[in-house]
Structures are given as C-alpha cells and as structure tokens.
C-alpha cells in the first residue's frame, strides 16, 4: 500500500493514541482530574482521526478498483499473459496422454502456476511451449466458439479454453484426458471423421423447393422474432463433440446417430424458412434415430453452449407422435 497524505494522519494517530492513553492513566493515578479530562478529550479526537483515516485508506486506496495498481505515464510492454510464480498458485497438471504407437495412456505430471483467470487450455499451452513441446492439443479460437478443445478435465467433459484452472482444481491438481467417446489420435487429440459423418448423414442444410431462387437470393425470407426463437437455441451448436462423448447410448451402440446430429435435424425442422417439412422428421424416425435416445440427458448437461440436444430429440419424438395421432 502506497503512502498518501491520509496515511500520515494514520501514522500520527497510531503513535498519538498510546501516548495519550499513558498520560490519561498517569493523570488518573495521580488524581489530577483536569489533566485526565484533557487527555480523554484528546484521546477521543485521536481515535476519531485514526478511524477516519483507516476508512479512507480502505475505501479510497484499498478496495477501490485499480487502487494497488500504480499508474505511471508511458507504457509497459509486458504483454504476455503468462501466469508467474509471484501472482500465481502452484498447480500440478496430470495429463493422460494417448500414445499413438503403444495405443496406451501415458501419465505425465507437470507443475505450473495459475492465477484466477488462467484457463486449462492456457496452462496446457504454456506447459507445451516451455516444458514439453511434444504435447498435442487441438485448439484455435480460445474463446469457446470454434469447438476444438473438448477434453475431460477432472472427470468433466468441457471446453478447455473456457474452464478456469483454480475453480476446477481439486487439491491443487488438474487431471486432463481426451474425450474417450471418440477414436483417439494423440494425447488430447481425437479423430472427428466419424462425428462429421454423423452430422452429414442427416442432411443438415436449409431445403427450398425452388433451388434456383434459393441461390439467386434476391429477397430475404421474412421471419418473425417468434419464429426465430423456435430454432435459435439449437443453432448454437459448435460441433465440439462433447455431447457425443457424454451420451451413454452412443458409447454402447455406435449405430445410434447421436445427440449432435439429431439436434441439428430439429434445428432445421423448426426453422420457418425450411421447406423439407415432414420428410426431415421421417428420416429420423428409426430405432437408431430419435427412438434410440433413452433420455439420460447427459448430452444437455455436457453441452457448453446450452444447446440442449435432449430436448430437441424429445421435440422430434413429440412431432412424430402427433403425426401418428393426426393420421388416426
């Protein structure tokens, strides 16, 4: 805490108060009422000054945002946001790295520092750059929108770039492994070919009867806010693969198309601009389509973007049931 003109009052009263108390005690013992009275009044004043200066110190220079951050004219160019020992906490990172040659996991432990804004991805990349360059992770945007860095951190399937180290550390330890529901390539990196094929198989694109008009795009398709809100939450899918990793059905029956693809079926089905109509529904009307879902809800729990694939699948089931009822 830096010295200010308020702190001078604080120091003065810190010395003044005990001195005055001594005078007060001596005067009281000696029975000199006038002296002890004057000392009491001075002591009261000193205590008030001490109190005020303390309050000022705390609220003006302590808790006020940016207070300990001394502002100097000119620029400091230290722009690397690397957590350092001085401001960080020591954290052990246990990486369960998939070895592509032996097809086994190797357990490696690294030590690094984390502050309250360090992310798991940031820490792993720091370890990679300065301790062990052979670590492989897939990452790109580091802001939770490209969907590259899905992995399992302390048992939870998450995006590493938006997972805080200190908030998820247990006993100052973070254990990271790749998503096990996907084929593994190396370390934290998984193979997405199968995942993309599932997505592709449900024909996830806006269908129009007049293809020529679709591509010529002379006018926008009018859409109300209410129509937009029907499919908007399902269009947030960043294809990170975490829901597929979490789904107990896909993990036991690989033929089940999975929550990601089905949520995209509903996303286009619910879009007022789409003209594929019930055909889209019927394509998902199979035992490995919507009916494969056992509604464990783990996909929605895992989704980092709040897509809620489980509800999308139930909506599809509902629409199909309604269709049967309508026919009867």
């Amino acid at each position: 805490m830096r010295a200010s003109r308020y702190t001078i009052f604080a120091y003065a009263s810190m010395i003044g108060v005990p001195v005055l108390m001594l005078i007060l005690a001596a005067a009281t013992i000696a029975g000199k009422a006038a002296y002890s009275g004057a000392a009491s009044i001075l002591l009261a004043i000193a205590l008030i000054v001490f109190g005020i200066s303390g309050v000022v110190e705390i609220f003006w220079h302590g808790a006020y945002p940016g207070s300990q951050r001394k502002i100097i004219a000119g620029e400091d160019i230290r722009t690397r946001a690397r957590p350092v020992k001085k401001y960080g906490k020591e954290i052990s990172f246990v990486l369960l790295r998939f070895n592509s040659l032996t097809k086994r996991f190797d357990r490696h432990t690294y030590t690094t520092y984390a502050n309250d804004r360090t992310t798991v991805l940031g820490a792993i990349l720091d370890i990679k750059d300065y301790q062990d360059s052979t670590i492989s992770v897939r990452c790109n945007c580091r802001m939770g929108i490209c969907g590259s860095c899905g992995m399992v951190v302390n048992g939870k399937p998450v995006l590493a770039c938006e997972t805080n180290v200190l908030a998820s550390a247990k006993y100052d330890t973070i254990e990271v492994s790749p998503m096990l529901g996907h084929p593994l390539l190396k370390d934290m990196v998984t193979d997405f070919d199968d995942f993309f094929e599932r997505h592709r198989s449900v024909d996830p694109s806006l269908y129009r009867k007049d293809q020529k008009e679709k591509y010529a795009a002379r006018e926008e398709y009018a859409q109300s806010k209410a129509e937009l809100s029907k499919f908007l939450p399902y269009s947030y899918c960043i294809m990170c693969g975490l829901c597929l990793d979490a789904c107990p059905v896909v993990n036991s029956n690989p033929n089940f198309i999975g929550p990601q693809a089905l949520s995209q079926v509903y996303r286009y089905h619910a879009d007022s601009r789409d003209q594929k109509g019930k055909r889209r529904l019927f394509e998902a009307d199979t035992m490995d389509g919507v009916w494969g879902c056992e509604f464990s809800g783990s996909c929605s729990k895992a989704c980092p973007k709040g897509v809620d694939p489980a509800s999308a699948i139930q909506m599809l089931k509902g629409e199909l049931m309604k269709d049967i009822a309508d026919k009867k």
Binding site: R69, T134, S136, G144, I145, L185, E220
Partner: protein
C-alpha cells in the same frame, strides 16, 4: 508422396474459402472436382470469431441509406488509400450476400415484419450492419459448412497443413501439404487455385485472432515470389479483453457502450466529438493509448497490461441478452465479471491485416505490380484488393470475404471449365518432391533454438516497436531484430519426432511464416514516411498525399525485399481531411 488431381483447389476454409467452394460447385454443376484444404477442421476457422456483423445497404428507404454513402464511409475510413472502384464493387455486392446467407439459414436478428435488423457500427454514418446476435461470423460459418455437406463434388481435407505453392512462370499449379494426423505428404495438382488463408495478426502476442492466424497463404505467396501489398497497415481493435486479448465486439459500443478512463470520463469526446465511441478503429485505438500514456489508464496486476474501461452498465440487461450474449458469456467465463454490474477492462489488440496478396479488382493474384497471374485467385483477409486501404471499417470484412469469395470461386471454376489444363506430371512431381524433402529437413531439424523462443522474441519486437504508435528508431530496431530472428530460424529443433498429430512441427512452420510476414510488415512500415490510417509515425505525424498516396508492393528478391509502389484508383471521392 501422393499426388491428387483436382480442377479447383481452395486453400483455407474461412468464410471466403467456403463461399468460393460453394460458388465454384454451383457454377460447375457437378462437373468439377473441388478440394477444400484446411489446416483446421473446416468449420473451425477463425471466421467463427467474427462477432459484430456484416455491412450492406439492405433497406435504403427505411434506414435513409444509400450505396454511395456506404462507399463514401468506406473510402473515408480507409484514409483514402482504398481503390474506389473496388469499394464500389463491395457496396454493390454486399446486400445480396446478406440475403444469400439468409437463404443458407443464418438466424439474423429481426425487426418487425420479419426484416433483417441492422445496428450502428464504427465509421458508418447510419445503421447498416446486419447481425445475428454477436456471433455473426459463427452463424455464417455454420451455414456455409452445413450447405457444403450437400455438395457432393467438394472434397474436404481437414487438418492438412500446406507448406508451399508450386509455381511455374505465371501460374500456380498446385500446393504441397502434409496430413497432420499421420504426417503423409500430399501434392494437390489443380487447374485453378483460390488462396483464402486469412490474416496474420498472430505476429503480435496481444491479438484478438485465433492461434491459426499465422498468414500462411500470404507467406507462401511471398516465398513463391508474388507481390504482397500494403502489409504495414495492421488494424488494432480498440476493445480486446484483458488479459487474453479476446475480442469484445465493436457492437458493444454500437449498442451504446461507453469508453471510460481511470477518472470515469468518456474520453472519446476529446478525439472524435461527432462520432464518440463509434469513430473508426484506428482513431479509437490511438485515443486509448493516448489516455494511457497521459496516466489515465489502469494497470493489470498480473499481466502488467495497461487498460481502460468499456462500460455497459447503463444498458438494459435484456438488450445485452438479446444482442450481446457472447460478450456476457465471455466476460463471465473468462474473468468472472458481469458486464451489467462492472466495467470491462480492455485495450487495443492486433486484429486485422489490411494488406495481403496483391490482387486486382477481380480477385486475381498479380504477377507483378500490373499483370495478373493465370488461374490463381486470392480472397478474404489474405488478399489485398484493396477495399480497406489503410484502415478497415468494422463489419466490412465479412462483406469483403463473401463478395470476393464468390468472385474468386466463380472465376476459378469458370477457368477450370473453359481453358484449364493442369501442369504436366513430370515437372510437377519434381517440384513437389523437392518441397517434400524441404519438409523432411524441418522435421529432422536438430539445431539448438526452440521455435517458441523465436516467437516470443518476435512478439516483444512487434509489441514494443510496431504497435499503435510507431517511430523511425523503433521500426529500425524491429526490422533488424526480425532479420536476426529469420537467420536464427535455420538453427531450430523440433522436439516432437512423432508422426501422429505433431503440433510442434506445424507450429515451427507457422513461426517460419510469422517471421516472413513480420519482415514484410516492418520493412514496409519503415519506408512509409507518413501517418495514414493504422500506420502512425511520430516523426511524420501528417498524411502526405503528394508523396504517399500509393500502395506499397513488396516482392521477394535475392538480396531481401524489393519495394515498388502503385497508384491508388480514385473515381468519385477526392482525398480530403479526415475528421469525425
């Protein structure tokens, strides 16, 4: 080595690349073999991080807008360095692109009667930025990707890192790339090629860009001896989050956010009275740094970064949820701060590369300052048409990517259909083999320098000397330092010797590209003796139209870089003083 034959090869998978692929496929009607080669999964390119929106005059009557006004704003924003015929093509094409994306399924924010909503943006006279919350780029990418799945004639090569172009005379005949998953080298031979590899702001450490934005295509073109234009102009986005540099969209100010210094004062009043926070990015970035230099900034304890505040506390929380949900998500998840309760700490960060591969107005890559190559196009941030001149206006980039993505894709397909013939296999194979052995040289590198150390030294040079304010002495230090780093690169080592997903190897190639790009940036900047748009030199504080109203063209030569200059095309708007 595997040789793959294609009619059209598209290198890069951002909005420009995928748009080009779709339009090439449309024009080819299934008769063309098209390949999209990306070093990432194609839907994960940096375009997903575009937040604010895409510009275009949709409703001239309702918004009291016109294409002329859009063009004028763009030209003025560029500090008169933009080619005005190209700007006119941009503003004419942009509205149809927005509608095209509507037809692909982008969930645009809507007004009453189902119209597409538009918001105010920096340097734009009226609201003309169409948006889908603050995830516009993401939604455009997802729609393009979903559309791509229905085009069976497009082959997608995920995670293939291209190392060099194969050039013979006035033609690029193909590329050499290695498959990241197993390190197999593949040569793509094609009749025509579109380069769409994006920007290069990763030459700075504090940047809004993804890890992938290392200017690979630009560096490859440079090494192939192609002209690179206007690289000294690097845009700094005023509002990047402390400490990571994650982008806080300009739309936050478009929707009414304030910039405040440590004294709680809306300082933009002093720098751009009429536009305030919505002045163009170069002006706002300089204003922030001026405030910090005058001692009215804050300092972040842990990272040592100075910053000012972006204040959204006075905005209706419902408005934040509807129009800026990602900003709220990011600040809460990354720094545990609720934007409706506290001010957001921000500072300028490298954001956009105005320069790039020299192309003509049709997106064709140029052979030298005036003649175009055959069968070679570039689109998006890696290309410099030049519509952005020395400073881009926010939301013009997405329109540029889609307008020139379409032009390049269609031209490449048309060329492949009509007159395209691929290189004869003998000479192509020889060139590809040579490149393959170069790749193996890097794989086997056993020097003594870590590539990451070189990258960190580069960061230091760029952040210190090539930032918002530049001076001659600093730029001289930077160019000398970068040359030294380029020499040191010969002595690197690759620690990871494995074949599966070797990111250590990929990053070494990327750092090589970064060093090349930084070299062009610093040399070009050192030679431009004026202050224009994003390039501000202390010794030459004024714009100098008499001497410097021209584009910088850099071509690699045996001795280093050969610089020449080309004229700016001026049609309707004569240069005048730029005031906001």
């Amino acid at each position: 080595m595997e040789v793959l034959d294609y009619d059209v090869v598209i290198l890069g998978s951002g909005i420009a690349g995928l748009t080009a692929a779709i339009h090439a496929s449309r024009l080819g009607k299934g008769n063309l073999k098209i390949a999209v080669v990306s070093k990432l999964h194609v839907m994960r390119s940096h375009s997903v991080a575009a937040e604010g929106g895409i510009s275009g005059v949709l409703y001239p009557q309702a918004n009291q807008d016109s294409k002329e006004l859009h063009a004028y704003d763009t030209v003025k924003g560029s500090d008169y360095l933009a080619d005005q015929d190209a700007v006119e093509r941009l503003v004419n094409g942009a509205p149809d692109e927005i509608k095209f994306f509507d037809h692909l399924g982008v969930p645009w924010n809507r007004r009453e009667k189902g119209m597409i909503d538009q918001r105010p943006f920096g340097g734009m006279s009226v609201p003309r930025t169409a948006f889908a919350a603050d995830k516009t780029g993401f939604f455009m990418m997802r729609s393009l990707y979903d559309e791509l799945t229905s085009h069976k004639d497009i082959d997608i090569f995920n995670e293939h890192f291209a190392t060099n172009l194969i050039r013979k005379g006035n033609r690029i005949y193909g590329i050499v790339a290695f498959d990241l998953s197993n390190e197999n080298v593949k040569a793509f031979r094609s009749k025509s090629i579109v380069i769409a590899t994006g920007g290069a702001s990763r030459i700075y450490s504090f940047t809004t860009n993804s890890y992938s934005n290392t200017g690979d295509g630009t560096a490859m073109a440079f090494r192939a001896g192609l002209p690179i234009k206007d690289m000294e102009f690097v845009q700094f986005h005023p509002t990047a989050l402390i400490p990571s540099g994650i982008l806080i969209t300009e739309a936050a100010r478009g929707e009414g956010g304030y910039l405040k210094n440590s004294e709680g004062e809306r300082f933009m009043e002093k720098y751009a009275k009429s536009k305030m926070e919505l002045a163009p990015r170069d002006i706002v970035s300089r204003a922030i740094i001026s405030e910090i230099k005058a001692g009215r900034g804050m300092r972040d304890h842990e990272s040592g970064l100075y910053y000012v505040y972006l204040d959204l506390r006075h905005l209706d929380p419902e408005k934040i949820d509807e129009k800026l949900p990602m900003i709220k998500e990011i600040t809460i998840k990354m720094i545990n701060l609720d934007p409706s309760k506290s001010q957001i700490p921000i500072r300028p960060a490298a954001h956009f590369t105005m320069g790039g591969i020299h192309t003509n107005i049709d997106g064709a890559v140029m052979l030298d300052a005036s003649r175009p190559m055959v069968g070679t196009w570039a689109a998006g941030e890696c290309a410099c048409v030049s519509v952005h001149g020395s400073n881009r206006l926010g939301s013009n980039s997405l329109s540029q990517c889609s307008v020139w993505g379409r032009i390049a894709g269609r031209s490449a397909a048309d060329f492949a259909l009509k007159s395209g013939n691929a290189a004869d296999s003998g000479s192509f194979f020889a060139a590809a083999e040579e490149e393959e052995s170069d790749i193996h040289k890097i794989i086997d590198a056993r020097g003594s320098t870590s590539p990451y150390e070189l990258r960190d030294s580069l960061y230091e040079l760029m952040e210190e000397h090539m930032y918002v304010y530049r001076n001659i002495r600093g730029m001289a230090i930077a160019r000398k330092g970068i040359s030294a780093l380029r020499n040191k690169f010969k002595d690197i080592y690759i620690e990871d010797k494995g074949k599966a997903f070797n990111t250590n190897l990929r990053e070494a190639f990327e750092i090589h590209n970064l060093l090349d790009i930084a070299w062009i940036v610093s040399e070009g900047a050192f030679r431009r003796h004026e202050s224009r748009g994003a390039h501000v030199v202390a010794e030459y504080p004024k714009r100098d139209d008499a001497r410097w109203l021209k584009h910088t063209i850099a071509i690699k030569s045996a001795a280093g870089i050969k610089f020449s200059y080309s004229k700016v095309k001026i049609t309707k708007w004569q240069p005048e003083e730029r005031k906001y």
